[in-house]
């Protein structure tokens, strides 16, 4: 049985964003719309489309993730589900009480004490007083505010406010729990407690809708998810597939060597490509497979002993692979104005993700650059995901080197 259902939901914010207007601008807007209607023109839709015909369904008791880059429309979707803002098109359906946790210190009133806030917020969420009373001590304990419970919240630190907000929302037994980025604030210990609490809610059968950039938390908490970008549904399904798609999406981009603004040195790189050991051009490899990087260079004159260096990175600082003529001394004796350089690596012991290929050319004595460091190509290593709870995220963000290994555990 479904618990949350988005049916072809769209949300358009007026005038390029959420903001309030003046009567004057409103009247002008009204006159413009009326004019258009009188001339029988199609009403021109203005404003930002934050969600564009998105549909998904969350089963009862399921934990579901919304993934996407900044500005994709994730928070908008959550606000619709929390009934905070109204969809422009389509229907949002829900079964049960929605507990929403958005932004820091959600719904905490700063003039009131912690105690008063628990009662106020609880009743705003529509929770019976008896239930609030039953849960009161648990909330205070979880938020770690025992000593400050009768202090006005305005004297709380932002961390305390956040803890209070989360504790109230997470303990008052919502049927559908909506969490937006809340875990990115607070210290590590509290974050861990929140993830634990959410895990418990999931085990108890609460439907959880989760938005976070903490991908390993997403992977361990959620069963399924949807990835959206610019308001559109990109993919949805089992969380590991969606995460894998998202990670690929984030890292992939084309390299345009021709318009590269760094490509202005004495030596310029004209083409660069990756090949399998059989010579076929390709950009996807399995761990342990071999690769050949082919580059063509151009220079205004013939060069003696140009030293080429090629490195590979995984998007983070520091080279993972480095093959350099200034080290091995294998620079060619003499090259013409156009020359090709092939680097053959017999085996890539790398884990799944996108790798960038960088190149640099130094003078014969290694004292000056003929070509500055430039990203010339990239390729992906794909491996089947493991069976562990963080398989996708750890493989993508953990250490880059793949080694053959086995565990041997005794007690």
């Amino acid at each position: 049985m479904w618990s949350v259902k988005f049916e072809d939901v769209s949300k358009r914010y007026r005038k390029g964003g959420a903001k309030y207007s003046t009567i004057g601008s409103e009247l002008r807007d009204f006159a413009r719309r009326m004019g258009a209607r009188m001339r029988r023109e199609q009403e021109v839709l203005t404003g930002t489309l934050a969600l564009d015909h998105v549909s998904f369904e969350i089963e009862d008791g399921e934990s579901f993730a919304l993934i996407g880059p900044n500005g994709a429309g994730k928070s908008t979707a959550l606000r619709l589900l929390a009934r905070i803002s109204v969809p422009t098109g389509g229907v949002v359906r829900g079964r049960g009480r929605v507990g929403a946790l958005m932004e820091v210190g959600s719904g905490v009133h700063t003039e009131l004490t912690g105690r008063e806030n628990i009662w106020l917020y609880g009743s705003i969420l529509g929770i019976p007083r008896a239930e609030i009373r039953r849960r009161f001590d648990e909330i205070v304990g979880f938020a770690e505010i025992e000593r400050a419970i009768d202090t006005p919240v305005k004297y709380y630190s932002s961390g305390m406010q956040l803890r209070l907000g989360f504790a109230i929302a997470a303990h008052l037994e919502p049927d559908i729990f909506v969490v937006d980025e809340a875990l990115s604030v607070g210290d590590a210990a509290f974050q861990e407690k929140c993830v634990e609490r959410m895990g418990k809610l999931v085990r108890d059968g609460t439907t959880v809708l989760f938005v976070s950039h903490d991908l390993s938390a997403v992977e361990s908490i959620c069963d399924r998810g949807i990835m959206i970008d610019q308001g559109r549904d990109i993919t949805q399904g089992p969380i590991k597939d969606v995460l894998a798609h998202y990670l690929t999406f984030v890292e992939e981009r084309r390299i345009d060597l021709a318009s590269h603004r760094w490509n202005v040195g004495t030596v310029r790189v004209m083409t660069a490509s990756c090949h399998g050991l059989d010579g076929e051009e390709k950009y996807r490899f399995a761990p342990g497979e071999g690769i050949e990087v082919r580059m063509t260079f151009e220079a205004p004159r013939e060069l003696e002993r140009p030293n080429v260096t090629v490195t590979m990175t995984d998007g983070r600082p520091g080279a993972i692979v480095e093959c350099s003529m200034v080290e091995d001394g294998q620079a060619p004796t003499l090259v013409g104005r156009q020359w090709e350089c092939r680097l053959r690596i017999d085996s890539l012991p790398l884990r799944s993700r996108l790798y960038q290929v960088w190149a640099e050319v130094q003078e014969a004595n290694g004292r000056g650059q003929l070509m500055d460091w430039m990203e010339v190509s990239n390729f992906r290593v794909d491996a089947p995901a493991g069976a562990g709870p963080h398989a996708v995220v750890t493989a993508a963000l953990g250490g880059p080197v793949a080694v053959p290994y086995r565990w041997d555990v005794r007690s």
Partner: protein
């Protein structure tokens, strides 16, 4: 959830339809009565928490107004209470309910701006803070009423069995208060102009209502129109009859004002519900 309370979870559908059902509004208000109650308690707490005089403000305000009225209208302008009642008794009997109306409108009209942070983050019926803010002035009204009764021997007000009509009159005066506060709250969120115009409008309202002067100042044949156009006039006059003159309310005027304020209230909720759809996007 396995607990009994969640065995039949409420199902909701949230879409772009523009239909407004008064039945649904009423059902939600009833369902969220504890939420409205909390908003009222909160307004009360926040209002008096950091004030040294605290609840004494509920007494000071009508007394200050009374002093001014007695000096200006009773003294300078020479308005008489009439029917054997002092001007002080006469003015106070309408000032106390007027205080409720004006505070209710000012604070109810401002309630959504005050709670903009909540609007952005939590779902609840959007009228709850407005209803709570208006409701939070009920204790002030009660205190004012007690003050009036204590002062009756001094001011010379005629108080009799007609006091039994006070609850009825109070229920009646809540209608125009909400009828104005509810749509104003929504407008003020959309256009901040209202926020600045509101205190001014409330001041004008004081002089447009029979508070400082008796309704008898208005020609007999025009009185019914006055009670229709100014939806608090009938109630204020009723309070005056009961709390100063010691007679029954003028049922005709009260009926007219109740009628027009009920129409206003329905209209006000309609406007509110229509504007409500964009609250979270504009705050």
């Amino acid at each position: 959830m396995t607990t009994a309370t969640h065995a039949h979870p409420e199902e909701f559908a949230f879409d772009g339809s523009r239909r407004i059902s008064y039945r649904r509004v009423l059902r939600e208000v009833v369902a969220y009565r504890e939420c409205i109650w909390s908003f009222a308690i909160r307004s009360l707490r926040v209002r008096y928490k950091q004030a040294i005089l605290g609840v004494a403000w509920a007494v000071v305000q009508p007394l200050a107004f009374l002093t001014v009225f007695v000096l200006v209208f009773g003294g300078v302008a020479g308005i008489k209470g009439g029917q054997g009642v002092s001007y002080a008794a006469f003015a106070l009997s309408a000032l106390v309910p007027w205080q409720f109306v004006s505070s209710g409108i000012s604070n109810g009209g401002d309630a959504l701006i005050q709670d903009a942070g909540l609007l952005r983050k939590v779902y609840f019926p959007r009228e709850a803070p407005v209803l709570g803010a208006v409701g939070s002035y009920i204790p002030d009204f009660a205190i004012g009423l007690i003050l009036l009764l204590i002062a009756a021997p001094i001011t010379g007000a005629h108080i009799g069995w007609h006091l039994v009509f006070v609850p009825l009159l109070f229920v009646a005066i809540i209608i125009p208060t909400l009828a104005i506060a509810v749509p104003i709250a929504a407008f003020a969120l959309h256009y901040r102009d209202f926020k600045y115009a509101l205190p001014f409008a409330v001041q004008v309202g004081l002089f447009a209502s029979p508070v400082a002067y008796p309704i008898t100042q208005i020609g007999h044949s025009w009185r019914w129109l006055y009670a229709l156009v100014n939806p608090v006039a009938g109630m204020l006059e009723g309070f005056r009859h009961v709390l100063a003159l010691g007679v029954s309310p003028d049922w005709g005027l009260l009926g007219l004002s109740t009628l027009s304020s009920t129409v206003l209230l329905l209209l006000g909720f309609r406007i509110f519900k229509k504007l409500e759809r964009e609250f979270a996007d504009i705050v």
